[in-house]
């Protein structure tokens, strides 16, 4: 779908405004929009709101064969979905430039940072291992999907638990959650992505850009880092040059942001844990309070119905079936006589019903042998009775 184009007046205004060290939503250059992390009822399901940008991440698992190249490791798939849901300009199914870059960066952040101990996911070396899958769905695109996605993904991994497995010889058993508590993944550290956008030859720098700011930006630098100041990715895109100082400055800003966000994630995880322990309500259902003007809530409602038929006795349905035999059906029944409807034309060929048109194997009335011949040519004997083509083939054979 076509997206509303950005008008010149918006573009100029935003750039001016940035030049005045101001932002449309009144943030300072290095402010994040407010961040909200929520977890679903299912484990490893995380929903992150960064301002109005929303991302949902879900971790799932299956048992499969490990890669030939790394027989002692489990496998981690990362899948980023940009659908028209988030923003009309995204195409369903087809991966856009943006989408590819996004998944690439997420992979670098999650896989190549080795934040996840894949060896612990191996069940039988070279034969069976856990395949983890992180599906990242962008729900609403108001800018800076990347940071939002990385937060969602890493929190989801931290929140996830996989079923326990035990191996006896060749027998491997996946324990149900009743039998054994699910086990958490061993997460070494939490790498996060922080993106910096640059304007007017890198003169001005903003973090956590809004979608409009992204539209007018000149270039972008993405820093992947964990709270121990370990860099896992660094990527610069766009046509602009950066000074060494700027890069260093960015990394130090990134550090402070990452530390703060990591705290928030841990907080959120803790809250969820407490809620589950206390047996309080948790999951997305709770997010919607219903006191906003645009939101509403319907308490659970008893539904009363006057006496129902006794459902579980077959007799009932039987009888209803019998009645199907008589009057309401009559007008439909002719054409298909009840008894001996089936006509066996030849070995393995039967038919019912008349009327209607059929161009191939049109049997009715005509001598059934013809069809017999048509279907069962292995018996050349049959062919003799058949005129036309089959006579010919007699000739063929005789010659």
């Amino acid at each position: 779908m076509r997206e509303t184009p950005l008008s010149n007046c918006e573009r100029e205004f935003i750039l001016n405004f940035i030049a005045q060290q101001k932002r449309l939503d009144g943030r300072k250059a290095y402010d994040y929009r407010d961040l909200r992390i929520a977890f679903g009822v299912s484990l490893g399901c995380c929903h992150v709101e960064l301002g109005k940008t929303r991302v949902l991440a879900q971790v799932s698992c299956e048992v499969g064969e490990p890669k030939q190249t790394r027989p002692h490791d489990g496998v981690l798939y990362v899948n980023v979905e940009l659908s028209p849901m988030a923003c009309p300009s995204f195409e369903q199914g087809r991966q856009s430039e943006e989408g590819i870059e996004l998944s690439r960066l997420m992979e670098r952040c999650l896989k190549e940072s080795r934040c996840l101990d894949l060896e612990s996911l191996c069940i039988v070396s070279g034969e069976k291992a856990w395949h983890l899958r992180v599906d990242i769905h962008v729900l609403n695109h108001e800018g800076n999907i990347l940071d939002c996605a990385s937060i969602a993904a890493i929190s989801a991994l931290a929140h996830f638990r996989r079923p326990d497995v035990s191996v006896h010889g060749e027998e491997i058993t996946i324990h149900t959650l009743e039998e054994r508590n699910p086990v958490p993944l061993s997460l070494h550290h939490m790498p996060l992505l922080v993106s910096f956008t640059f304007f007017s030859q890198g003169k001005y720098m903003l973090i956590d850009p809004s979608s409009k700011e992204e539209k007018v930006m000149e270039g972008k630098m993405v820093v992947g880092m964990n709270k121990h100041r370990e860099l896992c990715t660094l990527q610069v895109t766009g046509q602009m040059l950066l000074l060494k100082e700027q890069v260093l400055r960015c990394s130090s800003i990134a550090l402070t942001k990452v530390t703060r966000i990591t705290e928030l994630i841990h907080e959120a995880l803790e809250n969820d844990k407490q809620a589950r322990l206390k047996g309080d309500k948790h999951g997305f259902a709770v997010l919607v309070s219903g006191d906003k003007v645009t939101s509403n809530r319907l308490p659970k409602t008893e539904v009363k119905v006057d006496t129902l038929e006794v459902s579980d006795d077959m007799g009932e349905s039987q009888s209803s079936e019998d009645e199907s035999g008589n009057e309401p059906m009559e007008e439909h029944t002719e054409g298909v006589p009840k008894e001996s409807a089936v006509e066996i034309l030849t070995k393995g060929v039967g038919m019912i019903g008349e009327g209607g048109a059929s161009t191939w194997l049109d049997v009715p009335q005509a001598d059934t042998k013809q069809l017999a011949a048509k279907k069962q040519k292995h018996k050349v004997s049959k062919m003799e009775e058949d005129e036309g083509s089959s006579e010919e083939e007699e000739k063929v054979i005789l010659k």
Partner: protein
């Protein structure tokens, strides 16, 4: 073996906001929860939640253009993995349902697209999808001949019926039926079933679901009134 999500047993057991068999779980709606779309809503029925958004009447792809009416598109997005045939089937059912509801002839040569994201399937996911889509259409004020409401009923082996079943109920049930009704004369618009059932059971489910549908429609009306009256 398909990739699966993990849900704690106690969460399945907890049945948050779920009482006796003939109860609709608590519902919450959040209209316009997203910003980039013409209409959006996040709906929850008990722990089952889904987000639906609507664009339209919007630009249509040339190969899908119809000169006499709007083209209705539905995209269903599973939470895990890429869309598979089962989701195609679901899309088809949802699309046909809304093709009947939407007054498409008013906007020829345009597209009305509905995109549904499964966010948490804790039972009766199909109903949740239909209902959220309908609310999203209302939020986008797309012209409709009538509204639709879906209600799921699960039939236990013992013959007991469970309205708006949770995941646990669904797995224990011998069959699960989902009915969709129109708001004008509460006739059956859509039925999808999973598992064997007798004729009588179908009828009983119908009666129960129809009753429940009324309160769903009431919920639609309240949600809309609340939003509209405040913003006039």
């Amino acid at each position: 073996m398909a990739s699966f999500t993990v849900v704690k047993t106690e969460d399945l057991a907890a049945e948050q906001g779920k009482g006796p068999a003939c109860v609709l779980r608590g519902q919450t709606s959040d209209l316009g929860c997203l910003t980039r779309q013409d209409g959006s809503v996040s709906l929850s029925q008990g722990d089952t939640t889904s987000i639906a958004v609507v664009y339209g009447p919007a630009e249509v792809r040339i190969n899908k253009e119809q000169i006499d009416q709007a083209t209705v598109e539905v995209v269903y997005r599973p939470k895990v993995g890429l869309p598979r045939p089962e989701h195609r089937k679901q899309e088809r059912v949802i699309r046909n349902t809304f093709e009947a509801a939407i007054a498409a002839s008013l906007h020829p040569r345009s597209a009305i697209s509905i995109i549904i994201q499964e966010t948490e399937d804790m039972g009766s996911n199909f109903s949740c999808c239909i209902n959220s889509s309908c609310l999203a259409l209302l939020d986008a004020a797309v012209s409709m001949n009538f509204m639709v409401a879906a209600v799921t009923v699960a039939l236990k082996e013992c013959g007991e019926m469970v309205l708006d079943p949770t995941k646990r109920d669904e797995t224990e049930a011998k069959s699960v039926l989902s009915y969709v009704f129109d708001s004008v004369n509460l006739q059956v618009l859509t039925v999808v079933s999973c598992g064997k059932f007798s004729r009588a059971e179908y009828r009983n489910g119908l009666v129960l679901a129809r009753e429940a549908a009324k309160s769903v429609f009431q919920f639609y009306r309240e949600s809309m009134s609340k939003k509209l009256l405040m913003s006039q």
